[in-house]
């Protein structure tokens, strides 16, 4: 690498980083502007007097706490059930054989390519018929069914564990459930971590699901942020939108900063096929 090439590379990369971070900068500075400053044109590049009251207003002017509770409940249901169920199914595909296994595995892999939203609407209609709309049951059902991608991740991990361990356990009279629970699951914490992070961020970020399946007053933060902050004329109160969005996005970004490796491993192994 020549020196001038190296400098050019750094300049390009710095410009990209700047472009990637500037929207976040704009979100944060908008969240600190007073209504008067929001109305002035051209916009200021940093609020003349940062108004932190926007954050308390953002919490009080929509049912923020309630939406937060709903978001956390749904994220918790999704994360625990999806992770456990995917590990359970992944163990089956990794360590047990039966007629039809190969075909089922091919089906599992191809479901990763199924268009999710195409099944979502008819699923909604079915849950509506069962009077389970506006409850958490749909998320319980989705969680129990596991996620094809996470099943695949667990399967890959379990397949690499030496056979001797489970043979010893079988000799000791341990059943397959015991082998899964006592030997395999405790070893798989790297996959569990990736699974928890992926399913948490997925549930936290989901908009269409809660928008369809939950009513406006029992909805999640994602929906409340997108629809809640309007004045009596129905126009968005942008500084509150920004403050709410900062609070909504922050947990994910903090999680990302501390668990970067898990994020990346989960994301990049999705390129396996």
């Amino acid at each position: 690498m020549t020196r001038s090439y190296r400098y050019a590379l750094y300049i390009v990369l710095l410009a990209v980083v700047l472009a990637m971070l500037s929207p976040i900068y704009w979100l944060v500075q908008t969240s600190l502007k007073s209504p008067a400053e929001m109305a002035s044109f051209p916009p200021t590049w940093w609020p003349s007097a940062p108004r932190f009251a926007n954050y308390s207003d953002a919490v009080s002017s929509v049912n923020f706490v309630g939406a937060l509770q709903n978001s956390l409940t749904i994220a918790f249901i999704t994360t625990t059930l999806t992770t456990l169920s995917s590990a359970w199914v992944g163990f089956g595909f990794a360590r047990l054989t039966a007629p039809g296994k190969k075909q089922l595995f091919v089906i599992l892999l191809s479901t990763m390519m199924l268009p999710g939203i195409v099944t979502l609407v008819p699923t909604y209609l079915i849950f509506a018929k069962l009077h389970m709309v506006n409850t958490y049951w749909p998320w319980v059902a989705w969680g129990l069914g596991g996620s094809a991608f996470l099943i695949f991740l667990f399967r890959q991990f379990f397949a690499g564990i030496p056979k001797e361990m489970e043979e010893a356990a079988i000799i000791d009279g341990c059943g397959y459930v015991g082998i899964f629970w006592r030997i395999f699951l405790p070893q798989s914490w790297p996959v569990i971590a990736a699974s928890v992070i992926l399913s948490f961020t997925g549930a936290w970020g989901d908009f269409v699901g809660p928008a369809m399946f939950l009513s406006q007053d029992s909805t999640t933060l994602a929906v409340a942020m997108a629809t809640g902050y309007v004045n009596d004329k129905g126009l968005p109160l942008n500084n509150l939108v920004a403050a709410g969005a900062v609070m909504y996005v922050l947990p994910v970004l903090v999680l990302f900063m501390f668990m970067q490796k898990r994020f990346v491993s989960g994301f990049s192994t999705s390129g396996i096929k």
């Binding site: 054989t97 268009p115 069914g145």
Partner: protein, 327 residues
């Protein structure tokens, strides 16, 4: 990537050899088969109840004139499907979705690949660069869309602020015909996701291969096009397929980045794509039968497009290991 593939093979091979190795035990014992189905049952039940059955239900609906409310529905055969091809709004929304896909999918894969190649070299603060460029891809979609609305707000947005410093008149971004550029910007903001996938692929390419070629006198460009790209092609194919599937069913970003958030009908024409139209048909027009037919058409389109991509790419994509499904 390739290491993951070899792992599939490594783990699959002993599984296949198992009955032979265990010799005296009969091939997959009944006890084990029962255990296998006990373990995969949650997924099978979930797949049937939450995917197969809804798809079947939608297909049945698509053959009726159901409005979702009145109990009296009539069987209308394939009339809904015939209507799709006579409805200019449906056709134009499908065409817009196609154009959107053709522009954004290659563009973000290319941008991601370019960034990945740059950040696969020995550089100072490489990890920090990667993390910061990837960061927008983990911002929840609602947060990302709202952020872009704020940037492109007519009065308080940064875009018009920048224009005004050059003396240009403010632009109303969130309506036709400009809303589509905001959408493109929003999609490209997440291209760090493509970068991470390509980067993982690049890291799996043995350095010796590239170095050996360069010792033999290959230029950087030659080794890139003859070695790196072919070895990366399965990863690129994966991104094309998942990207196209995701893009054809785009919904939330369109609704959230333009539109008044109160309904699918408020999305500007330029961003009025197929799934937006489907939702409008379901929940604004209460045409459950017709909307279900539209869903099935999208399902078929995605299936056919995926198969075409796989077929066309079969000659150009280079697998170091046979993909598992083929064996």
């Amino acid at each position: 990537m390739s290491s993951a593939l070899t792992e599939v093979r490594r783990s699959a091979a002993p599984a296949a050899a198992e009955p032979v190795a265990q010799g005296k035990q009969k091939p997959p014992s009944l006890r084990q088969a029962r255990a296998f189905y006990l373990f995969v049952a949650p997924w099978i039940i979930g797949f049937v109840a939450l995917t197969v059955f809804p798809l079947g239900y939608a297909f049945w609906l698509s053959l009726t004139d159901s409005d979702g409310l009145s109990p009296k529905t009539h069987f209308v055969g394939f009339a809904n499907y015939v209507e799709i091809f006579q409805d200019p709004l449906t056709i134009s929304s499908l065409a817009k979705t196609g154009v959107f896909t053709l522009i954004t999918v290659p563009l973000s894969i290319f941008a991601g690949l370019l960034l990945a190649v740059m950040l696969n070299q020995r550089l100072m603060a490489r990890g920090l660069f990667r993390a910061l460029i990837y960061l927008p891809a983990v911002v929840p979609p609602v947060g990302a869309a709202l952020t872009f609305r704020l940037i492109f707000d007519r009065d308080a947005g940064a875009a018009n602020g920048i224009l005004s410093t050059f003396g240009a008149d403010p632009i109303t971004w969130l309506v036709d015909p400009n809303a589509r550029y905001v959408l493109y910007g929003l999609v490209m903001w997440g291209c760090g996701g493509a970068m991470i996938i390509s980067l993982a692929g690049l890291q799996d390419i043995p350095r010796e291969l590239v170095e050996a070629a360069q010792v033999d006198g290959a230029s950087y460009w030659q080794s890139f096009t003859r070695i790196t790209i072919p070895l990366l092609s399965p990863v690129i194919l994966f991104q094309v397929i998942t990207g196209v599937i995701a893009s054809l069913q785009s919904f939330a970003p369109l609704l959230l980045s333009s539109g008044s958030l109160s309904g699918a009908g408020t999305v500007p024409q330029g961003n009025y794509m197929y799934m937006i139209h489907v939702f409008a048909q379901y929940f604004s027009a209460s045409r459950f039968g017709y909307a279900s037919a539209m869903l099935w058409l999208l399902f078929a389109v995605i299936l056919v497009v995926t198969l075409i991509i796989i077929k066309v790419s079969a000659k150009t994509v280079f697998y170091t290991v046979e993909p598992e499904g083929k064996r």
